[in-house]
């Protein structure tokens, strides 16, 4: 394919391949703008891929931040229509425990009603029937329209739709500078993280959607953006503990949400302000694990004795809208900045902060602003246009019954796109990842059509290595397939070593019990049988690239 992208003048250049950037690329391309999306690593590597996977009803914010709550419930209803294949409509419960104040429940229900969130107060016995894993000592329960959402799938669906509408997508391309013309930005300089090649791209409007890294982007343009990173640690359990999202009915606090996601459950989160220079070094401490377990087992006693398969942490990109040095006016809402108005610099917009939940709304706001700057008058259609995978055909696909678990898993992951993934023969149907039922055909599809070039990318496209064994058996198999089928030639053994070390980063904080037994076996397999440690030491492999 001939690459003309560096000779084109783009209407919009978007920096950041998280859900905000992907959603913005979709909105821009649907409105006919010539769009380029640049991402320094892969899609969803930041906060997008490191949260609960909770489709908030907004109830959590109803008491303290009704504005956020209203946005949440509106987007909740929109996403349930346009992103069906990314969502499991589980419903949610807010439970009150004996140590909580039952009076708060009334305040909570009133606040929900005020912003349009449907609630239903349940008798504790009814609530237990609805979710048997909930703490039986609860003294009150309220049903809300919470759900579970897969952020990797959601981001990919936005990227696929953007590309279908002409957007140019470049992963592993880092923005290293801007091109100025007086007080106007007219383009970006990029570095290809693989080849080391530098390029320039011209654009009329540049959108900073880099999440917590947006501060660095702003600084590159000579501007300041006050960001206040907040770390949240979470735990993944090896099976589905609950079928309904469980929340504590009290002021938001540590470990008070338990979300069922696919075959697992996720417990979180903590909230700790961290210095900005630590945002690339997230690790979960044993203290955080202990705190999560202690608090989480109050939501569901099963938390105390269920096997944990992984601990991870994300950074919330909290931002101060104005030049606020104190950080007192922090909001979990989003911020949309036109830097010509705020800083006198034309051609740069920033869309930052917010939540996974509100990505579509954020994309709409910043695309409105870009259209205004470009003199384009096209309305936003993302609230009504289903994402690829969730079109009308999806219903038919979901009704299909297959006796093969890997086919059912594929339909779950790709919705109406799953027919594009074809097994030519029995070789293609061979299972690579047994935990997540990923077949050879699905790996080949991710390589050919979803820009997967290494095991990290494959994990985010297919869930490979995300199950109970955390890559113990599938990582080697997938590395072998990448080596055979991927046109981007890399040191696949070195990538495999990095991948296993990245998996290890999420495992060592929870290394006890069955997990410790398993990891001892994984060590013997890869370092004993396969000699991977020798390869790492002999070839000086850098194994700390855990975001790539």
């Amino acid at each position: 394919m001939h690459d003309n992208s560096n000779k084109t003048v783009f209407d919009v250049i978007i920096i950041g391949g998280g859900i905000t950037g992907a959603g913005t690329a979709r909105d821009c391309s649907l409105r006919g703008l010539k769009t380029l999306l640049l991402e320094r690593f892969d899609f969803s590597v930041g906060a997008t891929g490191r949260n609960h996977g909770l489709l908030h009803s907004g109830a959590r914010y109803a008491v303290n931040n009704p504005e956020s709550a209203r946005e949440c419930i509106e987007e909740n209803q929109i996403l349930k229509r346009i992103a069906k294949h990314c969502i499991e409509d589980t419903g949610g419960l807010f439970i009150t425990l004996p140590e909580d104040d039952l009076n708060y429940q009334k305040v909570f229900v009133d606040a929900c009603r005020g912003v349009g969130i449907k609630t239903q107060v349940l008798d504790p016995q009814e609530a237990l029937k609805m979710e048997p894993s909930a703490n039986p000592q609860m003294i009150g329960a309220v049903k809300v329209p919470d759900a579970a959402i897969d952020p990797f799938r959601l981001t990919m669906a936005n990227v696929i739709d953007a590309r279908r509408h002409g957007a140019v997508i470049r992963t592993y391309n880092k923005v290293i500078g801007f091109i100025n013309s007086g007080t106007r930005l007219t383009g970006v300089k990029t570095l290809n993280m693989r080849s080391g090649e530098e390029k320039t791209y011209e654009g009329k409007v540049i959108i900073n959607a880099a999440g917590i890294w947006g501060r660095q982007i702003a600084e590159m343009a000579g501007l300041s953006l006050n960001m206040f990173p907040s770390k949240g640690a979470l735990l993944i359990f090896g099976h589905r503990i609950n079928n309904v999202v469980l929340n504590r009915c009290r002021k938001p606090s540590d470990a008070d949400i338990l979300v069922p996601d696919d075959t697992i459950s996720i417990l979180g989160t903590t909230s700790t302000q961290i210095p900005y220079d630590e945002i690339d070094r997230m690790e979960v401490t044993t203290k955080e694990v202990d705190l999560l377990l202690q608090e989480g087992s109050k939501l569901s006693p099963k938390v105390a004795y269920s096997r944990i398969i992984r601990a991870y942490a994300g950074v919330r990109p909290l931002v101060a809208e104005h030049h606020d040095e104190t950080g007192r006016n922090l909001s979990r809402g989003y911020v949309c900045i036109d830097h010509s108005e705020r800083d006198g610099l034309d051609g740069l917009l920033t869309i930052i902060g917010g939540k996974l939940m509100t990505y579509r709304l954020m994309a709409e706001k910043v695309t409105d602003l870009a259209c205004k700057r470009l003199g384009v008058n096209k309305p936003c259609t993302t609230a009504t246009t289903p994402l690829p995978g969730s079109d009308n055909y999806a219903e038919e696909i979901y009704r299909r019954d297959s006796d093969r678990a890997s086919d059912r898993a594929k339909i779950g992951r790709f919705g109406s796109m799953s027919d594009d993934i074809k097994s030519r023969d029995n070789v293609d149907s061979a299972l690579v990842c047994e935990c997540e039922q990923v077949s050879t055909a699905e790996i080949k599809y991710a390589i050919d059509y979803l820009e997967a070039t290494n095991l990290f990318d494959l994990r985010r496209r297919t869930q490979l290595g995300m199950g109970p064994c955390q890559g113990q058996l599938c990582a080697g198999r997938a590395a072998g397939l990448l080596s055979r089928y991927c046109p981007v030639k890399r040191d696949n053994i070195a990538d495999l070593a990095s991948f296993l070390n990245e998996r290890w980063h999420g495992v060592y904080p929870i290394t006890w019990g069955n997990t410790l037994s398993k990891i001892e076996l994984t060590s013997w397999l890869y370092n004993g049988v396969c000699g991977l440690d020798n390869y790492v030491h002999e070839n000086g492999v850098l194994i700390n690239r855990h975001r790539q």
Binding site: T286, D290, N426, A430, L521, V529
Partner: protein, 414 residues
């Protein structure tokens, strides 16, 4: 139920020690819960690969430099270790396991990722080299099986090229493999091995011969000879050049073959192998273990003069753990482990992991202790042993297992 010696656990340590006792006229019972670490073995055994940060070429030269409580020192240092390990080697050969290698000098084995790592003994159908400077072949045909994902021709080719081989990669297919593929999870090494007899083996040989071209050696995944060496020899005789295997991602054929051969030899000598049973607890009289109870035998205790704990490490469940403890699940014996959980691991997966050192405490004769009191007739051997050594990164796993097993067998004969 009574025997002279009862082993709890039925892997490499118990089988080799048990065979030695049977050969010397004692009665032996092995209680085995099922799969052992052998099922995951690469087909190689290591005596010592690393001392501090240097690669070891001659394990015996380093043994007397080890700390006094290292198992090799406890059995009596270099010369005693040498005697015990060579005796274990002879037992394994008598059981029908064909091995290459010597304790005097490590050889190199080829791993599934194309890396050459040191080893003491390797199954003789696997590719080994005495030195990486002298390559005995010119050109290798690396032949995978279509759709078999646990063998990596690209990685092996890369490793072989690095030391001077020319390589050709290909895959083969046979009607038997097609049948296996009807189920997407069936294409695993032991399942493939089960199809490789008689006609299946002939078809495989025919397919291999068409991919050898001008090569003087063919390298295939270790998918032949699950129960014994016969299919390996038949295949080698039908293939038109030298033929070697490389181990696959487990569950692995080479280790299963070793296990089956040892177990068959053990039972042929009159040993009792209680498969699928596990010890639950023991009846003690002061420092003497009188009998043990098992899950399957109900009220019938198993009595012996001596008991040997050979239940394996963490992944064999010879040791168990929770959020802040590690314990030995049968007798709750004294165990060495770090109190602070944050020190159980290293954050780099490729550095030595402290949890590998956890295990039961033993005295100078490998006798276990309970609440600080040494037990007179309960010994521990193999991976359940704790101590200041890392079986994986030091490359002493199999050596310590076999040396402790043979030492304790000698104690039982005293």
């Amino acid at each position: 139920m009574k025997a002279d010696v009862v082993f709890i656990g039925g892997g490499l340590a118990a089988l080799v020690a048990g065979i030695k006792l049977l050969e010397n006229g004692l009665s032996v019972i092995i209680i085995s819960a099922g799969q052992s670490a052998l099922h995951f073995s690469s087909g190689s055994l290591c005596a010592m690969n690393r001392y501090n940060d240097t690669e070891v070429h001659s394990p015996l030269e380093y043994i007397d430099l080890l700390p006094p409580d290292h198992p090799y020192r406890k059995v009596g240092g270099a010369s005693a270790t040498c005697t015990l390990l060579k005796e274990a080697e002879v037992i394994m050969r008598r059981a029908g396991i064909e091995l290459t290698g010597t304790l005097e000098r490590n050889h190199y084995r080829l791993t599934p990722f194309g890396v050459f790592t040191p080893a003491w003994l390797t199954l003789s159908d696997h590719l080994t080299l005495d030195s990486l400077d002298k390559v005995p072949y010119r050109k290798a045909a690396i032949i995978g099986i279509e759709g078999f994902l646990d063998f990596y021709p690209d990685f092996i080719a890369k490793g072989l090229k690095k030391i001077g081989f020319e390589t050709v990669k290909s895959t083969v297919n046979t009607p038997e493999f097609n049948l296996l593929r009807n189920n997407p999870t069936e294409m695993r090494a032991p399942n493939i091995a089960r199809t490789l007899t008689e006609e299946g083996l002939e078809n495989y040989a025919y397919a291999l011969n068409r991919k050898i071209y001008d090569c003087d050696v063919a390298i295939i995944p270790a998918v032949v000879g699950l129960n014994d060496n016969e299919p390996v020899k038949q295949l080698a005789s039908m293939v038109n050049c030298d033929l070697y295997s490389v181990s696959t991602i487990p569950v692995a054929v080479p280790g299963i073959r070793m296990k089956i051969l040892l177990q068959e030899y053990f039972t042929s000598l009159g040993g009792w192998y209680l498969m699928g049973d596990s010890a639950t607890d023991g009846i003690f009289e002061n420092d003497y273990l009188r009998s043990i109870n098992t899950a399957n035998l109900g009220n019938t205790p198993v009595k012996a003069d001596r008991f040997v704990l050979a239940t394996g490490g963490l992944f064999s469940r010879g040791l168990k753990s929770d959020i802040n403890h590690v314990w030995e699940p049968v007798f709750d014996l004294d165990v060495d482990f770090e109190q602070d959980r944050a020190r159980w691991y290293d954050k780099n997966f490729y550095q030595p992991q402290p949890f590998m050192k956890f295990g039961v405490k033993t005295d100078e004769h490998f006798r276990c202790s309970l609440q600080g009191k040494t037990l007179r007739n309960l010994y521990a051997i193999g991976s359940v042993l704790g101590g200041d050594f890392n079986p994986l990164t030091d490359g002493v796993g199999a050596g310590v297992t076999l040396a402790s097993a043979m030492y304790v067998a000698n104690k039982c004969l005293e």
